[in-house]
Amino acid sequence: MTASGVLQLLLFFGLVVLLTRPMGSYMARVFQGERTPLSPALRPVERLTYRLLGIRETDEMHWTTYAFALFAFSVIGAIFSYALLRLQGHLPFNPQQVSGREMPPDLAFDTALSFTTNTNWQNYAPETTVSYFSNMVALATQNWMSAAAGIAIAIAIVRGFARHSTRTLGNFWVDVTRATLYVLLPLCLVGSLALAWQGVPQNFASHTRATTLEGSTQTIAQGPVASQEFIKELGTNGGGFFNANSAHPYENPTPLANLLELLAIFLIPAGLTYTFGRMVGNPRQGWAIFAAMSVLFLAGLGLCSWAEARGNPNVAALGVTVHATPDQPGGNMEGKETRLGIAGSALWATVTTDASCGAVNAMHDSFTPLGGLVLLANLMCDEVAFGGVGAGLYGMLMYAVIAVFLAGLMVGRTPEYVGKRIEKYEVRMAILALLILFAGNVLWTGLATNVAGAVSRTANGGPHGFSEILYAYCSATANNGSAFAGLGGNTPFFNLTLGLEMLVGRFLMIVPLLAMAGSLARKAHVPVTAGTLATDSGTFALLLAAVVLLVGALEYFPALALGPIAEQLQMTAGRLF
């Protein structure tokens, strides 16, 4: 990798480390109801929201009530989005005159669920399929709401660890309101303006028709992009305003815009680790989680960057220069923007699959088998290396419970974590959440690879075609939304099965984790003794990262062997797919 590539990676990760504490500290204050610098402006709005919606701020919820509130919030959002997408031909802000026929029921089903579950898998080309009204009201609104719901769930689960001798985890409506008003709104306002300053369009103009130097006509898409672009990254949603997503110069016009968008993806998930530490009364617990996430992120980034910089040996055998020179970046540049290069593409791809974002600035389908393996593995490990907003933290807490359970088995002690005794029920719920995700991935992939109509939708044969299908279901389950773009997913089969799997990956994972948190909240605090496993240490961070990798390998090695590993071995033997 080039020196400038290494500098990019160091600059990005250094900024993430620097921003984690202030962001986490701010969110801890917000969700503990403390005064923040924005309170004078936002507290009246917050109170008005509660009054209008009939919410009593001091009401607390049992975990089951919290889950039902999430369901009510999400089912209304999903049906609302579905209806708007189906009726878009009759609604305003439609200068490109989308008729509505572009969005048939199965595609609207997939799209509405995709945005409700924070996945943003897109089986359509946005420029020609979705009106500005649908983009703003049906899709961007869900970007906000699903992100706020994810943060709320994470905070409720953290309260399970932080509180003792209580049956409640907070109030879902209050948490969603605070996440929206105090976290998403101010950051999106500043971030969207910054992107508009960098050249991202924000208008309601119809598509521009231009004549190229060669004399042909080019249609240049326009629209309210900046306002959707920043929440797309900040909320780890990932659905592009344009089909090329963040590879499109209107979504990602400059190096500074690229850096801002990357930082926006990790900002809240990284900050939430510190929020966790603050809320359980020991910031070192949060840093241990942060360290485990960092180990996973940096290991994946290193392998992906190395594989892409090394390129395809079959191309090198043809006498083509594959190492970097002053004139070209070398490596595997297929499917990558020349302005972003190897380092910028590998960094973004790793970040977007570590978080449950799914925005892309390069085509993941064109990565080398090993580079693609890293992206798949990130999805398969349930995106816990910082992860989605909220989802990354509660996913990692699921693994933390499993890690202390395994450590307890090894030393013969009752496992404890942040002052709570971890018993049979909590371990059962953590394992249940883990298995729900695993089962969804392998069952749907197994079904799809045996349906002729599904297999014929892959652009490549052999192990690469298998990877395209596997990636699609892993992406849906993990609520990521990025794709191995070779799969033509806009069929009733894929729209239906991917839509359902997004629901499973989102909500059926949350239920057992909320149950686990509810059970933990009821327990008394256990004092630290000489026999307590220190979970705020570097050793525990390494153990946690190892457990994530070990569990992921045990679950998915056979699937990876059929996909990217087989492809890598065949590539070295000179066979490409």
Binding site: F71, V75, A108, L508
Partner: protein
Amino acid sequence: MLDVICIVLIIFFFAAAAIFVRGCARLEREE
């Protein structure tokens, strides 16, 4: 007709998820 099926499917999923919540809660009480 397909619209109705899609909306019913969404509602059906959340109804099933609510049953799952009750199942987890019952397991908690039993333990």
